[in-house]
Symmetry: none
Subunit: 223 residues, 2 copies
């Protein structure tokens, strides 16, 4: 996700930019405030962080200019603190308003919420677990390895999920069975073995034959 930062205070600009990059965002920082529109058009960012107090024209002005051509999500920053400033920001076409000084955690959280709302399709691609090249998609019950994929059944999926949640520690068979079937008394010991085997076979087809290790007498583990 590409974020455009429009902020004239160098300290804040750098701090915000750095933190966002640490979080995996791509950033575009404005340094020449008369070229905001060019930069916006060239980079086509997914979200804009806009300070209100700027040299020459203010943030509202630029928001207006941008809104003429785009519905990009926009969060205003400002040290002003009257309700009128918030109301203004929203009415000018902004999506949120954060008062300075602010916590970066809050900015990130608000950005994520807004991005989720705007680009909701991205949400579905984010609920996954990963380990050593194997990606387990929690939404559609698929495992991926590189460009290969395989469908898991309900039980296989649960087993893999439990093992990945506990990666690095041994999960013993009894515990596993209790999670899978609640009353372990009524299902055969061997049922788990067979399910593990099926899961291993599918992982093997993805080239990860030894993803799950047996610890004899103790249980299974993903290392």
């Amino acid at each position: 996700m590409k974020i455009m930062i429009v902020e004239d205070d160098l300290t804040i600009r750098d701090m915000v930019g750095e933190t966002l990059e640490k979080w995996g965002f791509e950033t575009v920082k404005i340094e020449e405030f008369d070229q905001i529109m060019q930069v916006f058009l060239n980079h086509d960012p997914h979200l804009v962080i806009m300070d209100i107090n700027l040299p020459s024209f203010d943030g509202f002005y630029w928001c207006n200019k941008i809104r003429e051509i785009s519905k990009v999500p926009m969060i205003f920053l400002s040290s002003r603190d009257t309700p009128m400033d918030i109301v203004m920001s929203m009415n000018m076409g902004g999506d949120d308003y954060i008062q300075k000084p602010f916590y970066m955690d809050v900015l990130i959280a608000k950005m994520n919420a807004l991005l989720r709302r705007t680009y909701s399709y991205l949400e579905t691609h984010s609920k996954t677990m990963e380990h050593d090249g194997i990606v387990l998609n929690l939404d559609d019950g698929e495992v991926l390895h590189g460009d290969q994929k395989s469908d898991l059944t309900k039980t296989e999926f649960l087993i893999l999920k439990i093992l990945m949640q506990n990666k690095g520690t041994i999960v013993n068979r009894r515990k596993m069975m209790r999670s899978l079937w609640k009353d372990e008394n009524f299902v055969d010991e061997n049922t788990l073995t067979v399910n593990i085997a099926r899961l291993r076979k599918k992982l093997g087809e993805l080239g990860k034959e030894y993803f799950i290790t047996t610890k004899k007498g103790q249980g299974y583990i993903i290392q």
Copy 2:
């Protein structure tokens, strides 16, 4: 626009409700806090205002419950004031956070911004959903594929809409039934199967026989 208000403080509830109505919103106020889900399902509001401190379960809990079946815009209210509360609210699936006491102007402005962002399709007149060549018209319940079309019944339409809204993720049968019939206890399990079959038949006639995939034991999915 219909707004659901979940707030146990009677003074605030009435004040908010009155003001919203003065602004032309339709309001639904929760009075029995164990019936939030029923009310939500029955009214299907466009936005939810959610207090965090509630009797028995808190606002985060109900947010989670609602998020299992809906992406409705949600604004949290709370008198707590640490940055962590804001971050929590966003991470739980909220869109915004307003600290009490607040100005009604601010609430209204934030609501409007969020509604504008969420329902922007209303402005652009593109009341359709599209995926993989299938276009669902939200106005008249028609599906299009290329130059072919087919009329859907109410139930078929809802099923397809729910699946398309959640494309890429498995929607389990129970959740589906809860959305379709509110009180799942009174309709047969098989009714859903039959409706899915009828919908599939129509999609099949448009040449999209395998648009909806069954994940046995898990639910249905559009990939």
